[in-house]
Symmetry: C2
Subunit: 384 residues, 2 copies
């Protein structure tokens, strides 16, 4: 099976081991996981269940944290449509890292990227997606005084000098090799990587970037040029993609609504989607299922419970056994997941409605970190 | 002789006829010149003496002006160092066009371009050049209520959405073909053309761009995409380069101070430079000169008088005859030019000192047009 992973395209059945080799990243070891747990005082589900599976220099982040140098978190979102559950996961994890390490978080909303990538988008359309997405992100659990969310187009005056300094260090040949640009790539998309690299220089210490593994090419370039600019090579912690409902390979896609649960899907929609589309590891008939049992490894409902929705290890093991033995039917497993999803979405939407706007205002403009970021003159900070 | 003309490099002896053919522009005809004179009520020296020699759609500009649709002027400056006399000429001509046609002028200061083009520049250095250059430009005769001068990095928030819309219409292949980009070109320079195209869309009528002919590649691309964005193809009026002191070919270069008279050269420096470096069409000895006469066609001092410093046609003809006949010596011709230059520079510096800052403030921030430009939301204007 062939597959392709770039920041703009993920196709085919992804071989994560091959990505680690090709990208030159490292698997998160048991040891490293334990060290995080020791420092954090707890272990996040997404680490325990290997959703975050790969990294660059995470060990250095922890060492610098212990030395008191500290670090900062940076992640982002390309506002190309409404968000599904898979989009929210890195933010939930980032918010947890912020909470346990008490560090600043910078969240870049790359409206520019999505506008140049997809020529069918109108500017206002991307802005609407951006504003909706920001509301979803703002309620993922961040500290409003220590989090700065910015749209590239809105914060561009502050980003631009640094972006130019980054851009003049990156030749077309390099960008072509790393991102697979061709003669038909537009010059906006060719420049864009500069903008995604800039926030790794927001502080004079190392950034840790929680993100899906497809974003790693940016960090490879950042690491080539950071030190020559007087900054740190960024660290990153990479997640796999939450699998689409339709099968455990590939990733959820906003353009194929049957593959994803969106944050605004209502209870009935969630139920219908899971019942209709969630790929099952069960047997064709109840009789056969009772006899042979289901296969949790390829069952998307089970995998979603494993990756995100069932926090309790014992409960998860109980479900696995029941499903594998045939005691639990596919319909029952799906029903269990549906309830979990609906509880999660109800809570998310409640927060969004109740606190969303207030949190957005704080994280974008009024909070302590946001205020500081708007007051900065980057040409000074950068010292160029 | 070979030569090369791109927006970043002008090398060798320039064949302007070949440029007209290669770039696909048109020579300014006698007819067109007469039409401008008829509409303007006067003819500018730089037109009469063919310093502005080529154009695109200048006839359409005049037709639309007569129909009452009007047009606007746009030009700019890359702040890569202090300005010499050759740099000021397009601004003087633009200010004249503004005066006689009573139209808006937009002046782009491309600090971003110069920073990405030359990796040795520091950001602050380019900003200092930019601020100095703006002072020189502001006293070239513009109407402070109808002129907007902006630095790209300062006005970027307003430029960026439009620049992205432009950028996503330009493939790398096109940019490569037009600008000669290679694999070692940095991604900042590759994106930059978008920024230079944006101001041609500042008004919903045709732009007329007075500029040196090396800038034409930008307008070729602009004309390919303008109508698909709902705007007008830009018009342009191209000048030759004021020849360097050292010979009538090539162009003045800030990096070779002996080739150029800078706007801040004092009287003695002007005298020394002209006496020492101005290429002479005279004979090796006074005796020979008296007998054979000089050649004004290759004499840089005479050419400078012709192109810019001697407004009076009769006086110029008198000098030509005297020099060609040997009656006027090279030293006398140079002395005449030196006085003309020093009068011009004294006047320029007087205006710069007396009114410069006030005019800059008006044209950048406080004047009627500047205020309007800062209040605009380009995503709305653009309708994307």
């Amino acid at each position: 099976m062939t597959f392709k992973v770039t920041p703009w395209e993920v196709e085919g059945s992804i071989d994560y081991e091959k990505l680690i080799r090709d990208f030159g990243t490292q698997r998160i070891s048991e040891e490293l996981r334990k060290e995080i747990k020791g420092l954090a005082g707890e272990e996040h589900l997404l680490l325990r269940r290997h959703v975050f599976f790969s990294h660059r220099d995470l060990d250095k982040i922890l060492a610098e944290y212990k030395q008191g140098k500290g670090f900062f978190l940076y992640t982002g979102r390309g506002p190309s449509g409404k968000m599904h559950i898979g989009h929210l996961i890195p933010f939930i994890f980032t918010a947890w890292l912020q909470k346990v390490f008490d560090v600043n978080v910078y969240i870049e909303i790359t409206d520019d990227e999505k506008f140049v990538y997809n020529r069918k988008y109108k500017w206002k359309e991307v802005q609407q997606y951006a504003d909706e997405n920001i509301l979803d992100i703002a309620v993922a659990g961040f500290d409003p005084q220590k989090t700065f969310i910015f749209k590239d187009s809105e914060y561009i005056k502050h980003l631009y000098p640094l972006a130019l300094e980054v851009a003049r260090k990156i030749t077309y040949s390099t960008a072509k090799a790393v991102f697979g640009f061709t003669g038909s790539t537009n010059i906006g998309l060719i420049f864009y990587p500069s903008l995604q690299i800039v926030p790794t220089f927001f502080e004079k210490r190392r950034a840790l970037i929680p993100c899906a593994i497809d974003q790693d090419p940016y960090w490879r370039i950042q690491r080539d040029i950071a030190e020559s600019l007087g900054y740190y090579k960024t660290a990153a912690i990479h997640s796999i993609f939450l699998p689409p409902l339709t099968g455990i390979h590939d990733k959820m896609s906003s353009s194929k609504p049957e593959t994803a649960i969106f944050l605004d899907d209502d209870e009935l929609t969630v139920k219908k989607k899971v019942m209709k589309y969630a790929f099952s590891g069960g047997q064709p008939s109840i009789e056969e299922h009772r006899k042979k049992g289901g296969n949790p490894d390829i069952d998307v409902s089970f995998q979603w419970l494993y990756m995100f929705f069932e926090e309790d290890d014992n409960k998860l093991e109980e479900i696995r056994k029941a499903y594998a033995s045939g005691k639990m039917l596919t319909g029952e497993l799906k029903q269990y997941l549906i309830e979990k999803i609906n509880v999660f979405l109800k809570e998310h939407r409640h927060k969004r409605e109740k606190e969303g706007k207030k949190l957005v205002r704080k994280m974008m403009y009024d909070g302590k970190l946001a205020k500081r970021m708007w007051s900065l003159d980057y040409s000074d900070v950068f010292g160029v």
